[in-house]
Symmetry: C2
Subunit: 179 residues, 2 copies
């Protein structure tokens, strides 16, 4: 991965997140990255290839985050860490994760991105075990609900420009899963 290759990637990421994939011309990516347009195609074949490279980055990052949850041993800690995930991700790399979320709704990437990755499956399994260990009657359903909360929470973080009282909401969510 050359220096310019990375420059193209982060610039494309930013612009795709800001303007959307279809409404971001490759010419603009090149201009903002300070490279020639042809270079994009030399390295990434076509515009889709550029997006694929970004998606690959995201899968790598998701894997890292999944592993941090899996390493926890206390069931309650695992559940709380899962709830904290959206806040953490958006604080760290807002536009990167916004792009990931909007991607889910783009026809082209719908199928491949919503098939849960191996990492995601592992987390789901671990959380099911966690709920079981805590004595919940229907662990699988509990995980489903938790995932919905995660989606909804991320959604709120992503779309409200000034997310008021994030920490309060997070604390309230956690209180729904007491020790």
């Amino acid at each position: 991965m050359t220096e310019k290759q990375e420059l193209i990637l982060v610039t494309a990421l930013r612009l795709f997140a800001e303007k959307g994939f279809d409404t971001t011309p490759t010419s603009l990516i090149a201009k903002e990255a300070g490279v020639s347009e042809g270079l994009i195609f030399r390295h990434f074949t076509n515009k889709d290839g550029l997006m694929d490279a970004i998606v690959a980055m995201s899968e790598e990052r998701l894997r890292t985050n999944a592993e941090r949850i899996l390493q926890l041993t206390n069931p309650i800690d695992q559940i709380h860490a899962t709830l904290e995930l959206p806040v953490k991700l958006f604080q760290e790399e807002r536009e990167f994760w916004m792009l990931q979320f909007s991607l889910k709704w783009q026809k082209k990437y719908k199928n491949q991105s919503y098939t849960p990755s191996p990492a995601q499956l592992k987390v789901i399994q671990a959380l099911t075990d966690a709920f079981r260990a805590l004595g919940y009657a229907e662990p699988a359903q509990e995980v489903k609900v938790l995932m919905m909360l995660l989606d909804g929470f991320s959604h709120q973080l992503a779309l409200s420009p000034s997310p008021e009282s994030i920490e309060t909401t997070l604390a309230f969510l956690k209180s729904k899963y007491p020790n």
Copy 2:
């Protein structure tokens, strides 16, 4: 609203939901609707105007659904009816609501669509009262959580191709808010 005007609208709605706004040419809309391309611009000024007309339709439908919830008198019924909403909407008009959800992530419609409509605000107020009447300690936070669940649930309904056990999940969600 002439016959052809409606034809254009429903065709555009379907195609936008299937292919996305940016990747649906007006020429295709015209072809599938069986009208000349020029007619689209006569009636809706430009492609954005066409989308605006669709969004207006959606706001009208949301208002109708909000009113049905507001008419309920029993607090638990209001909460349960809110939970049922996504299932109901997606059963009735799947592609219409899918378009609405994907719209939230399109930059252009982000600001205007996530400012809650008056109808939405009324429902939020009613639900807050409902939670208070039921003796919940933090009604406002409960409503926030409920809205997250709604988002996450819709998300799941929209993105999983064969949503297994919808009714089971719905029943489980309702059981979280017992009488």
